[in-house]
Subunit: 365 residues, 4 copies
């Protein structure tokens, strides 16, 4: 992994995502450009000090030379570094999983593509919203013609965390509002997600845009509100609204596709639901694991119908807390569920059965 | 791990949960009582054949004798086996993480408690819903008096998957509707979750119940609908409705706590939200990472405000698919996001910026 | 009308309801038991002083004797007076429209039934929730077997306005918490609505109950929380929860009916929607005027699909404000929409069309 | 009233709105341009045949000459006639309440304004959505600075009834898609509502627009989808999306206002709710009659907190059905609630109280 050291956000997300299905081990990293912070981060993450690097170019070279060198690197740095880092690893035939956007400029993108063509490594971009089961379902439904001809695609991504000038010590806000590092404000940070999601579900690329980018906070050098009209190759129209000053919206990503026969609507805040309305029929609420779920959704689901996906994380919290107790860590154990609660639960069932058999009489546990 | 072999459900959930935070390695298991199925499951899960057991007692003994023997075992079998398995491992001072309910009968529970008392191992019960950040928040708010005196607690857990007689080959339905294996129907399978959640949030134990357990499907031997009135030690009243025949509900777990000064409401279907209403004020929608989130919620959150928790899983899907491509597996690669999409994204931002600078003129990508 | 004078609540509702379809004229009334308040109320309501009465018995006699006497009386007094008033008018063959509950006691009810049998007048009870289009639809769907055999009916009516001891000058709270006037607390005030709605939609009567009535506010003489299990003649089970201490609920009336084949769910807060889920299919959202609306719903709808019913009231507000202006009343006219706004609207359309024809150029209105 | 005869839609809405508060009587009309249909409509509406006109100019002259002539006329015809009709009545000093838009063309609007200036009559335009209590509240909150400086206003009005070519006999669709009669498609029919609502809540007029009007159905002569960017005099930006081809939307009118300090969101589908979020605080759900309701909302509310506004219509349905029974009309009386239900209700309360006093024993009604 390159980037993702102490104080970073998306690096931790990538690490959990990599671990979730047990397909990856984190064995090396250049977690920060500052050597001290890089090594401290490596130590925290249990990475062998020998494989903790302060320079990504060195990491690429050294790892490529090792017999047990990495197969793939995750890039989770600010946007303007993506291109150079990816090229360094691809040059060593090491595959790359890169946070979006691919690069900060078109020139960097073209350079990277040339590098990838010359490499035996793969390149993957984590436009993560394409991984939601109901987005997979939406894409299949469009492809299978369930909507008829697609007329309009609406993708909104609304946030409010930049609705005022950020505090000086907000590292995330700092690089994301610096034109040199981010390569664009709302349009680059979240508008690209809306664009990618529209293309992904439509199965068509945008060929032309009309855009209004504006800024609502004094002194801001990048856009914080973007309105884009798109023309897709398929003939569909698209509309994107990406904003970081829409108070009352945390990460409100929504998608609607209107066809000649039917429409679909999805919102990240209820990621397990997809509204499907055929013209002249009652709207249907399709759920991730429900009766109308598509195999394309099932293929990327880990739990059965009806459990929200956060279910796994709630479960993982219990495992983490149990590990902490077993390792003798000094944690607040008041939330630990153990023998007493287990006995209470069994007693509860027993008392309910006795009560029910006794005409619902009050029955002590 | 004991249980969780091919065809099982909750075992896979436990494995992901254990992996999510990187605290556990799965190194041994008795994944099924049938030896062939046990070993096939172990192979699938990458467990060393030498440490794949067909008998949990053997597993406990052999692992305890190994220098690198397991520190902790997960028990994910049908309910009636929990007690005996836990005792076998606790007898060897191996800690236990056990799926709920602790045991199928009170006698088993008491026996297990005695065994735990005599052991150096820990015992943890995965009442997983207690791991949701907003449930932690709810519990803290009650404890801190934000609701005043708690008057009533309502916990409903509604499902519909048993609303008709299940197909004969439905393994889950089979053992869950067999009184001998399950030790109770809806009351044991999901009513216990509602009970545990009520106690957890209230910080008080139930001391007495009145229960109506009923069955709505011909030939069913266990209850499929349970209505319970509870008296808590704190003086609060509780009401539980657990049903497996409530058509239109997948895993609809809800909790509401009414106090003398305020109330809270939570629903698993929107796990990141908690409604909080003070008497005489407008209802507030507290979100997991939002402005009113409690440190108790933040402590068990892995991602910042506004991202739903399924976000991590969507991310993990991309990592899994990338791994499949890199390992040369024959998968449908149409959902892979790579160079072309990366270039499209960078071109999109570039075109938007040029369009915006040109009075929103149509601009090709 | 008897009752409904100054300071009353439900009387005004009855008057609007009577006026809405133009079927009734309000020409006489005993609006209060206090003569001064009765006559002042009559004056306010534009009722001829000669036909304003302080005594309902006198009103019944005098009106019956007039050639232009009333055909029907609305009774909107506290509950304990309903019976005597209804009998007085029925004795004169004047029809009665009575707010619910019919009477405060069983003895009064039986006496009233005898009086009605001996009268040529009709008796109508305004269990108003039965008038919602989607409730009519629900009832038809149950009757037509769309749900299969009905297993369970859930009706909850939750309020919070009595969650604390009411202010001494709260007239509504005063009589509704006085056992002598109300004949029951939450069970009588709102539990009866839940009961009636369950029977109405089920098409079956309750034959037996088990009830827990409780009170959560010190010094309260009537119940403020009621939990009732019902047995219907049809064989279905019913469950009612009526509460006036559930903070965060204004008038949260909900109904769910679970059958062997399908379920329906309805909530007064979204009265135009009815969820319908067939076992093994995606939930459908049936709307009042939408594609799946039943003729039984259409028959009691006044506006087409998609407009919420409050639409009429918003419209009426504009008419009322226009009347106030034309009558020269001294009102805040800032919300009046007139010529300027009309011109602005026409200019807006014109400018939009010109802009669209000019490649979306900025165009002044 | 001019227009609103048999087969019309909005005329009936105006009549109910006029009747709701008892401020108007309908005494004359030119309900259709076809004489036979005009008189048949008048008869149905109980209007004196002598005051039923086939020509609006005649109606204006004759009514003006009568001692008991009308004070005000409602105009509910297709858009292109509004101007001429309004002028005819204003010329006689008769006030006008006119359905929106004021006229179909700018020239007509200017002519009408001149006529109004020369008249003693008033002119009112029924932009009905301004009558919702929560819209009044929103407007006050903006005016009082609760949002800080308004940055952006979003108003969407989405319908789907024209998503395909309408049936030839759909009278509504016919004139609304005829450029000569309607003066604009979606932009004129519903875009004007979004425009008016934005201005109303903002307290500022739009001065400039950029618009894309498009049509998605073959052969359609007017726009069915409109996207408009607005510049307001206050400095705020506005965005309007009006569509009649957005499948899955019945009359989905929404409004959001984003300021520098806070935001508000409203949707016609839940007209009694207003979301209010201050930057850095939890979102609050303000309800029409709830704790945070503004006096401006209360002033136009007819019922207390928590009842949805359709409540009045449900009530009115019972009154209408009672009238039908009393007038001996041949209606399906199965929904009538009367003595038996009244007795059942009283018995229910009585049985609940007896059961509760007997430790919740089963108790027959």
């Amino acid at each position: 992994m390159v980037g993702g050291g102490q104080g970073a956000f998306i690096g931790g997300v990538h690490r959990i995502a990599a671990r979730l299905d047990g397909c990856y081990d984190l064995v090396a990293g250049a977690f920060a450009s500052d050597a001290a912070r890089a090594h401290a981060s490596a130590a925290e993450l249990g990475v062998d000090p020998e494989r903790s690097y302060a320079d990504f170019r060195e990491m690429a070279k050294v790892e490529a030379a090792r017999d047990d060198g990495i197969d793939v690197v995750s890039i989770v740095t600010p946007n303007h570094l993506h291109g150079a880092i990816a090229e360094a690893f691809l040059a060593e035939d090491i595959s790359v999983i890169c946070d979006k956007p691919m690069t900060a400029t078109l020139a960097q993108a073209e350079s990277l593509i040339a590098a990838a063509d010359a490499s035996n490594g793969h390149f993957f971009l984590t436009h993560n919203y394409t991984g939601y089961p109901m987005i997979r379902q939406a894409r299949q439904m469009v492809a299978e013609g369930a909507l008829g001809d697609v007329r309009m695609v609406e993708a909104n991504y609304l946030q409010d965390w930049l609705s005022d000038a950020p505090a000086p010590d907000n590292k995330q806000a700092k690089w994301r509002t610096d034109p040199a590092q981010a390569g664009g404000g709302a349009i680059g940070d979240i508008g690209t997600h809306a664009h990618n999601l529209s293309c992904f579900v439509l199965g068509s690329r945008a060929k032309s845009v009309r855009a209004h980018l504006s800024s609502h906070v004094k002194g801001r050098l990048v856009d914080d509100d973007a309105r884009v009209r798109l023309q897709f190759e398929s003939g569909a129209c698209g509309y994107i609204w990406a904003s970081q000053v829409a108070i009352g919206n945390e990460n409100n990503l929504t998608l609607a596709v209107y066809g000649s026969k039917a429409s679909i609507k999805w919102a990240q805040e209820q990621p397990n639901q997809l509204w499907f309305t055929k013209a002249g029929e009652a709207p249907q609420l399709i759920t991730r694991g429900g009766a109308a779920a598509h195999p394309a959704a099932a293929a990327v689901s880990r739990i059965p119908a009806g459990h929200p996906e956060g279910y796994l994380e709630a479960f993982a919290t219990l495992y983490r807390e149990a590990a902490a107790v077993m390792m003798g860590q000094d944690i607040d154990g008041s939330a630990i569920v153990g023998l007493q609660e287990g006995l209470d639960g069994v007693s509860f069932v027993d008392a309910c059965q006795r009560s029910s058999n006794d005409d619902a009489a009050w029955t002590d546990l």
